[in-house]
Amino acid sequence: MNLAKLKKEVLEKLEKSINLTDLEKLEKEYLGKKGKIRDLSSSIKNLQKQEKKEFGQKLNKLYDSLKDKIELKKRAIKFVQIKEKEEKEFLDITVPAKKIERGHIHPLSLAKKELEDIFTLLGFSIVDGPEIEDEWHNFDALNFPLDHPAREMQDTFFIKQKNRSKLTQKQKFILRTHTSNVQTRYMEKNEPPIKIIVPGRVFRNEATDARHEVCFYQIEGLLVDKNISVANLKAVLERFLQDYFKNMDVQIRLRPSYFPFVEPGFEVDMSCLVCNQKGCSTCGGEGWIEILGAGMVHPNVFKNCGLNPKNVTGFAFGVSVDRLAMMKYKIDDIRWFHSGDLRFLKQF
């Protein structure tokens, strides 16, 4: 085999090789142990002495030069590859870090927190109580007579108990229907002056719709002292609504109502902030929106908690946190709160 021809052949192939695999293949084919150059070197023994030497030297030279050329090309390809890789994986350490998405406060938590702040500033303490309550603290102590239609004003979830009918009122359990249960629990153990709010979950066994949920949040307020009046109740409620809605023009009005644990009882309406009392669809053209229930603590409740109604008067109110949040953020359906829908939640 002609060495020049062989060289040309290798060089042509080298030219066509574009990656390391091609080159390795080429190297193996010509320079490897069973490669073509080794084949040629085994034919040396057939030559004469002088020719042997010359041919051997040429062969070695060719081997070395081809080896160099292949190595060179290998390096060139590797270099390009690294270059490409570097470009692809370029790390600009001056770029600001990618933002980690943070959780956000649920609108009900937000409303609850704001309300707690408002009442804390007004000097109220925040008090907690049980969600599973006995019938005595949820109803009897709050002046709900047994077998009276008043008991049916709040649809109740009863806890299944063996021989329930034989248990005393303090042994029968229900899910509390209002946070008013804490009124009685707190007054049993504390002397006036009392100034508390009770935020918490309450449960009603009723069909849900845009305005009703089986579980919602309520804040109960209770103020007991000497000579507390309806005028005081009006002022405190007005003040907290003005603070919560950040609007000093908020007005309230009291309408007669009935809750067994207060006397008199009031339905409290708030001036409509959507239309400034001009009449709109939110307030049904009335200019007023029903916002909470309140009243003067019934003397029987004081008695049931061991306080003498001759010495003290007080007022109580209960407001749905869900309802306040709906008003403030103009939410049209109470069921959004527990829907778990991120499109809704991400707005807060």
């Binding site: 007004l122 077998d147 009276h148 008043a150 103020l223 309806v230 405190v236 006397e263 008199p264």
Partner: protein
């Protein structure tokens, strides 16, 4: 409760204000009223009577009484005049025995010479506005008077009572059944109070009448029952039987025992006027447990400090009188107030303060922050 605007108007000589104005006055001073719904030439007002006022306000007259106090309009007397046939003494034709304490009062009259027809249009119209289907003149009058005065009534066909014409009020027998007016067969038990003759149950007391003594086109003589039952018994029975009627709903609230007589006279008057019936002389009235009138003291200084507004004594007395309370004495700024029998909800001084506050107007109370703020 659904109140007919025309019906309400009939209690007043002067005209009531426009329906919108009236609704807003009632809402601000007594009960929440939904938007009025026009029904032909009348309006149906849905008035939310809360449980405390179920004993006196579940009727057109009850609402009229409130309107009279709120608007300062005087009420017309309700016509109750009756012509009795003195040759026929009721005691020769009917006897009643009350054998259970949960029947607080039982009054009854007997009428004969009845012709069953349709009721006149004005009665039918008013029943329909209030959601009751007219049947015949006798049944319609019992329903009409219930809507008017808040006393449920029941009429029995006299001739269908068993031989001795004796009505007994006592608990049902074990395993007994009654076929109700709506042809439903209901199993009774020994905790359920019944109205019966000597053979069968005629009605489930205060809840529903039975088929046996039903009024029909051939009825000639009737017994009208106007009774009073213990509210908590009616409530329990109604829940047990899963049977709620207009009558049971009213009785659950423990209504005034004084009302039975008035409603009986009113219904008798109307049936006599409509049918020309002969009314037997006398009333059967079994009234064992009379309730004394309550007297509550009201201190005017306490009233002022409780509401946080000064209301003149003259004004206080005027409001109380407009709601039919009586002032027994007045000494050292303390009034002794007699509560009318129909106001079962009034038991303590704070109840009186509520009455005065709401009629005077809660809007007149100015906000004052407590001293501790």
């Amino acid at each position: 409760m659904i109140i007919s605007f025309n019906f309400l108007n009939s209690f007043f000589k002067e005209k009531l204000p426009s329906v919108e104005k009236l609704c807003s006055e009632i809402t601000m001073h007594a009960f929440e009223v939904e938007k009025p719904v026009k029904v032909n030439d009348d309006y149906a007002l849905d008035i939310k009577i809360l449980p405390d006022r179920g004993s006196d306000a579940l009727s057109h007259f009850g609402i009229a009484r409130e309107c009279s106090a709120i608007l300062g309009l005087s009420l017309e007397n309700i016509k109750k005049d009756i012509i009795e046939d003195h040759s026929l003494d009721i005691h020769n034709f009917l006897s009643v025995e009350v054998k259970n304490k949960d029947c607080k009062r039982y009054t009854a009259r007997v009428l004969t010479g009845i012709t069953i027809t349709e009721s006149p249009k004005w009665i039918k119209d008013r029943l329909k506005v209030c959601g009751i289907t007219p049947l015949n003149n006798v049944v319609d009058v019992t329903n009409y008077v219930m809507l008017e005065l808040g006393q449920p009534l029941h009429a029995y066909d006299y001739e269908k009572l068993s031989e001795n014409k004796k009505i007994i009020i006592k608990k049902a027998k074990k395993d007994e059944k009654i076929k109700t007016l709506s042809s439903q067969s209901l199993p009774l038990e020994s905790s359920i109070l019944t109205i019966r003759d000597e053979e069968d149950p005629l009605a489930i007391a205060g809840i529903k009448g039975g088929k046996k003594a039903e009024i029909n086109a051939n009825t000639k003589a009737i017994v009208i029952e106007s009774a009073n039952f213990n509210g908590s018994l009616i409530s329990k029975t109604s829940k047990k039987l899963k049977l709620r009627t207009d009558s049971s709903f009213i009785f659950e609230h423990n209504i005034d025992r004084g009302l039975t007589e008035i409603a009986l006279e009113r219904a008798t008057h109307l049936i006599q006027k409509l049918t020309g019936a002969t009314v037997l002389k006398g009333v059967i009235d079994i009234y064992n447990e009379k309730e004394p009138l309550k007297t509550i003291s009201l201190n005017l200084d306490y009233l002022e400090s409780f509401l946080g507004i000064k209301i003149e004594a003259k004004e206080v007395k005027k409001i109380l009188k407009s709601l039919e309370f009586k002032i027994k004495t007045e000494k050292n700024k303390t009034l002794q107030v007699i509560v009318p029998s129909f106001r079962k909800d009034i038991e303590i001084q704070e109840n009186l303060i509520e009455e005065i506050g709401r009629i005077y107007g809660y809007d007149k109370i100015k906000s004052v922050l407590p001293l501790s703020f």
